[in-house]
């Protein structure tokens, strides 16, 4: 990424988008960019990330499976079921593949708290699948809070002894995409970067800098209220949500500019504080999500 494009080349958004798309199209046409296999494992979690992925736009999910990858296994989205589905998972091991994992790895009782299917009559645990597929993958993406650091699945008291993916694959390089759920752009953008240019630059926690480098607080449209000490007292107020417990000042994502649901709005834009869902340690470290009794005086507290 050393070749900077400088004026007099046009630098408008349209020109940049055009350069990127022609680059990608040419790469696809001349064979330098190849479709790769993608294995998408769902372990101990809520499948929220794959639902979020289906909400992607430009590119959308259809484009992903049509032009970017061969989705060889996805528990939620594939047609095959039962042992037939697991057979496809096993066959994937023979070829090169990118592994995406959402959900935490449950360690308790040798992983029996999270069974993802049966193989040759025996239960296949998430723990076994994560280790087996993680060892051979060309790239690993830990998708969502649970896969990156345990997330909601590992919240106290963590009955299934869930951990993040890195804990069971300590020597493997993996790109971490925290978020509950992950924004479809963060996943699709990282995937596209891998296909077009290789691994994206990441910070010391393994998060791609292109999506996770800026504090929400530093791009928040309500920042002028924070700097002047003007704080909301209840949900729906249009000022800074800091005193209600906003975690924007400790969370790094591009939510304020990218926004959600087809880029239309985001929590703070809808007058509710950021709960820090993309911060490591979520949810326990980000609790309480809302507090009403910091600036307002409650009589019988």
């Amino acid at each position: 990424m050393e070749n900077y494009i400088l004026p007099p080349e046009p630098l408008t958004n349209e020109a940049i988008a055009a350069r990127l798309t022609t680059g990608a199209r040419n790469g696809l046409a001349n064979g330098s960019v190849k479709k790769k296999n993608l294995v998408y494992l769902e372990l101990n979690g809520c499948s929220g990330n794959i639902i979020s992925l289906l909400n992607g736009a430009n590119p959308d999910f259809e484009y992903m499976i049509g032009s970017m990858v061969n989705l060889v296994y996805s528990n939620s989205l594939m047609a095959a079921e039962g042992e037939k589905a697991i057979e496809r998972l096993m066959n994937a091991l023979d070829e090169d593949y990118i592994l995406a994992v959402e959900g935490a790895v449950a360690l308790r009782d040798k992983g029996l708290y999270n069974i993802i299917g049966t193989w040759k009559g025996k239960p296949l645990t998430g723990l076994e699948a994560a280790k087996m597929l993680g060892e051979k993958a060309s790239h690993i993406l830990a998708v969502g809070a649970c896969a990156t650091h345990g997330g909601v699945s590992a919240a106290r008291p963590n009955p299934s002894q869930s951990v993040g993916l890195q804990d069971v694959l300590p020597d493997k390089n993996m790109i971490k995409l925290p978020g509950c759920p992950v924004h479809p752009d963060w996943f699709l953008g990282t995937l596209a970067h891998i296909l077009l240019y290789g691994d994206p630059d990441t910070d010391n926690l393994g998060r791609p800098l292109m999506f996770y480098s800026t504090l929400i607080h530093d791009r928040c449209p309500r920042r002028p209220f924070f700097d002047r000490g003007i704080f909301a007292e209840k949900l729906g107020d249009k000022t800074c949500l800091f005193k209600l417990g906003c975690r924007g000042p400790v969370t790094r994502t591009d939510c304020p500019t990218r926004q959600w649901n087809g880029h239309v709005n985001w929590p703070i834009g809808d007058d509710t504080p950021c709960i820090g869902c993309a911060q490591f340690g979520f949810p326990d470290a980000m609790a309480p999500f809302i507090s009403y009794d910091t600036t307002r005086v409650v009589k019988d507290e």
Binding site: K243, L244, G245, C246, P273, A285, P288, I290, S291
Partner: protein, 169 residues
């Protein structure tokens, strides 16, 4: 009082900006970008120094106003405002807190949020990492010497930016 709060917040946001610039400088290899950031840090330091002097003047005038005998704007003898004087050690106000006193400053119901580290009590009421007087699962009004040492080893600079309110006894 409001004025002092505002000055303090300006200082804090300048400090944050400078920190951010330092991080960006360490991450970039583009010499032009570096130059711009370095200049901005220099400017920030100049502003901080100015605001610091202003705050000291405020403090001095409020002391003399309280004494009511000295004319306003007189500096305490022996402490002239000088832009070149070395950083004095952080002056810890005389207020003392027991651990029970400290527990009252929990940031609830309009009360300020204080925490102690290494025997010094700091005000985190408006600290951006302490939204709703909580910080990564910690509530305010307690002593966090150990927690600070384990999570922010080698980051004493964090403490230097917090307003000091007294000593833990």
């Amino acid at each position: 009082m409001q004025n002092i709060r505002m000055l303090q917040q300006q200082v804090n946001s300048l400090i944050n900006q400078a920190r951010h610039d330092i991080y960006s400088i360490s991450a970039t290899s583009d010499p032009t970008a570096k130059q711009v950031k370095l200049q901005r840090i220099w400017d920030a330091l100049t502003s901080i120094q100015f605001l610091n002097d202003l705050l000291a003047a405020h403090a001095a005038s409020s002391i003399s106003a309280a004494n009511d005998r000295q004319p306003l704007n007189t500096m305490p003898v022996g402490q002239p405002i000088s832009p070149t004087s070395a950083n004095p050690a952080v002056a810890v106000p005389n207020q003392t807190f027991t651990i029970q006193d400290l527990a009252n400053y929990d940031g609830k119901n309009g009360r300020p949020a204080y925490v102690a580290v290494g025997g010094v009590v700091y005000d985190v009421t408006n600290n951006r990492a302490w939204a709703a007087a909580t910080h990564f699962g910690l509530v305010s009004g307690r002593d966090y010497t150990q927690e600070f040492a384990s999570c922010h080893a080698g980051q004493q600079s964090i403490l230097a930016t917090l307003p000091v309110v007294g000593r833990l006894v």
